[in-house]
Amino acid sequence: MLEIISMRVNGKDVELAIDPRESLLDTLRRRLGLTSVKKGCEVGECGACTVLVEGEAIDSCIYLTVWAKGKSILTVEGLKSPTGELSPIQQAFIDEAAVQCGFCIPGIIMSAVEIVGAGRRYERDELRKLLSGHLCRCTGYEKIIDAVEKAVEAKLASQRAG
């Protein structure tokens, strides 16, 4: 049985019919076509499905869509600027060559959005801990941490400038 719910996805209000038994991961991928949200383990282990709900990174594979009613969801599709440019965080991943196959990256970028948004500097070990809910089979993580560090610095610089 379908249920109509409304939520805010990537800054736009959407109203859609969902099955109350489905995960937010399935709703975002299948009903809204937001395929940056990856399906990895489906049990909260890998972080590939990470999105922000009300600014907080969660694993959308173990989050029921009905819980997202009236809430604001952000995925990688929502990061680009109105003119289509990549966000500074995405750019930092490219600049630091932090991406190999890319499967884990959208999830990590969403965690990075939360980290960078905190507006403070972290030790590398703190960043490791903040990213520990993600598995990457390719990069060995070093470049990913470089990229997040760079994105944090860029944000702090822009705060000082602004």
Binding site: G44, I62, L64
Partner: protein, 361 residues
């Protein structure tokens, strides 16, 4: 799609109690990080869920006028760690729940779910034992308060009745003022790992900081349920903070109060070693946090022989491993058969009952 019959979003705790009472086959769900994982493995499939995910009345940490602290059962781990009240009065609990899973899990999982799930490995449990937390449940017959020491009855089993909802935990001022503590989680990885063993120690020192006026010791994964070690505590009370002999007697007594087992994560022998060593370290940390001088670290290796004697056979241990020993073989089989064993086993153990109802025992 999760294999559930339906999901009902409760409007209040009372509404959740009513909904559970109406359907004996319904399952309560809060953050879902245990329930939904079990469902992925087909456990408890096809049942209706009653959700308390959106209930703000059971979220948040509050310092009450009388100095007691009230922690809503629906409070996520992140909210506990970031709570100014927790940071000021019970930093140990904020640190303990900051060892759960990874950041996303800590933003989803709740302390009520952690305790009510009944797992011995729950990272908040041993600390809550040393805080002598009181568990406030609401059921069809009204409210009742259960001390955490009486809450667990076996692996994955608690005294909570089907239609009872945990509303909040109460930590009494007596367990806060003047106390300092440390939780140490031992796991194979630093993150996204269920504890191989967890040890919580709280101490209260005399005003000159020389004597241990009071101490509390509790473990996770040292028995089928979390355990408190009263005998060990009694030995240390009134002794000097830097008395090595006292610490060794404390550790020796603790070993008689636990009952660990072998699982794919670790052997019983290794767990006994951890039970001894983590008690020393957590105690030393707690004493230092309280402003005292801890016993020399040297004592740590001197007493290696303690773990070898098989003190876990002691029958004084309340919690027994009856139903907890059946499946470690199955886990070993998985390990032997496949290269990706640890992931499989991880997943299996997180689904609950297999490892004797806890994630690991």
């Amino acid at each position: 799609m999760f294999d559930i019959e339906s999901i009902y979003e409760a409007k209040s705790v009372g509404d959740a109690v009513r909904a559970l009472n109406e359907r004996p086959d319904a399952e309560l769900i809060s953050g879902g990080t245990d329930v939904l994982i079990r469902l992925r493995a087909g456990k408890g499939a096809g049942r209706p869920l009653v959700s308390i995910h959106e209930l703000s009345e059971i979220k948040g940490v509050e310092l009450q006028e009388n100095g007691d602290i009230r922690i809503g059962a629906g409070t996520t781990f992140v909210k506990i760690t970031n709570s100014p009240v927790i940071q000021q009065y019970i930093p140990m609990l904020g640190e303990a729940v900051d060892t759960v899973g990874g950041p996303q899990i800590r933003s989803m999982g709740t302390i009520g779910g952690n305790i009510c799930n009944g797992a011995t490995s729950a990272d908040s449990a041993s600390t809550m034992f040393t805080l002598e937390a009181e568990i406030v449940l609401e059921g069809p017959e009204g409210e009742r308060v259960v001390p955490i020491s009486e809450f667990y009855i076996g692996p994955g089993q608690t005294v909570r009745q089907h239609a009872e909802v945990c509303k909040y935990f109460l930590i009494r001022r007596d367990s806060i003022d003047g106390w300092h503590g440390r939780y140490i989680k031992y796991g194979k990885r630093k993150a996204m790992e269920i504890a191989t063993l967890g040890c919580a120690v709280r101490v209260k020192l005399s005003s000159d900081k020389k004597l241990i006026e009071d101490v509390r010791l509790a473990y996770g994964v040292a028995a089928p349920t979390p355990v408190r070690c009263h005998k060990a505590e009694a030995i240390l009370r009134g002794r000097r903070t830097d008395d090595e002999m006292a610490v060794e007697e404390f550790v020796k007594a603790a070993l008689t109060e636990v009952n660990p087992r072998s699982s794919w994560r670790a052997s019983k022998e290794f767990r006994l070693q951890l039970i001894a060593e983590l008690a020393r370290r957590a105690l030393a940390d707690a004493v230092r946090l309280a402003g005292g001088k801890a016993a020399d670290e040297i004592a740590c290796w001197r007493s290696g022989s303690l773990a070898e004697s098989d003190m876990a056979d002691d029958t004084s241990c309340k919690a027994t491993a009856d139903s907890a020993s059946c499946d470690s073989m199955a886990d070993k089989e998985v390990c032997a058969k496949t290269g990706s064993a640890s992931t499989d086993a991880n997943r299996r153990s997180r689904t609950g009952e297999e490892e004797g109802g806890g994630r690991d025992a």
